[in-house]
Amino acid sequence: MSGAEIGLALAVFLACMVEAVEALTIVLAVGTTRSWSSAMGGVGAATLALAVIVAALGPALTSLPIDLLRLLIGGLLLIFGLQWLRKAILRSAGLKAKHDEIQVYEVQAAAARAAGAKPSGFDGYAFTIAFKGVLLEGLEVAFIVLTFGANQHRVALAAAAAGFAVLVVVAAGVAARAPLARVPENTMKFAVGVMLSSFGMFWGAEGAGATWPGGDGALLAIIPGMLIVAIALSKTVPHTSDSTPPAHSGSPPADTGDRARVRA
């Protein structure tokens, strides 16, 4: 396996773990308070929908000319990666609203209890909430699987890394029988942001016509370089009292906007 393929698998695995932890919290909440069978039905339907999206768009993307593919996907990965990195840095500094998986679980469970009596058979509420939760969290992973995988013509490897991450999270969830609040999600998001930005930068510039010194070996300088820049930027941000550095932060806060937006 080449370095780029290891990077692909690692980025997809980490991204998928983060999203799977968030989806697991929602499924646990509706499963325990409403109906496990209906919640699992929602999980299955959403997983199928995500698989169809990847299977349908993967071949379409890989049929594009390589330079166009690299420009398009490199640009998208770079924009996407920089947003992940930006959020992770702001969260680590306490500048982005925070939440944790326990809190999300309690809110979801309260909403599920307030949604009315549980039917004896199929529970539409549990099905819909589980379906929506898995589909929405999974879309980001599908996007990363498609963009990363298509660019290297390794959609199957990317999908396998995503599937393995889901298995790990589900196994941990079954063992813990509780939301995985201790998973260092923000640190993982920080790492994914660095990987996506680095590969996006590499492919985007190549697609635009640039030639990297050292060819593919340039990634060995780009990834650590991006990591150093991101860590340096996180050090320059004024940290609030409830902040933790990226390497030690826990659950990511909700995507409710940064401090400027919250204050506004």
Binding site: L71, G74, G75, L76, L78, I79, F80, L82, Q83, L85, R86, K87, I89, L90, A93, L95, K96, L139, E140, F143, S197, M201, G204, A205, G207, A208, G209, A210, T211, W212, P213, A218, I222, G225, M226, V229, A230, L233, T236, V237, P238, G257, D258, R259, A260, R261, R263, A264
Partner: protein
């Protein structure tokens, strides 16, 4: 909000996120890379430089007190 506009808003939020300037900056950086490369000049440095600047400015804007 109508369904098509809600879909567009969802796609915008999904791809572009909280700071649209990053997306615009990335597009401009890639366009500049193409121009420099077409001119026969080494162009690999354009995107890394732009990325550092865009991220630093975006973080600085978000961290700036608004009151």
């Amino acid at each position: 909000m109508t369904q098509p506009s809600a879909l567009l808003a969802g796609v915008w939020e999904f791809i572009v996120g909280d700071d649209w300037r990053i997306a615009v900056g990335v597009v401009l950086a890639l366009a500049l890379t193409a121009l420099v490369a077409v001119a026969g000049i080494s162009a690999w440095w354009v995107v890394p430089l732009a990325v550092v600047g865009l991220l630093a400015l975006s973080i600085r804007r978000a961290a700036r007190p608004t009151d």
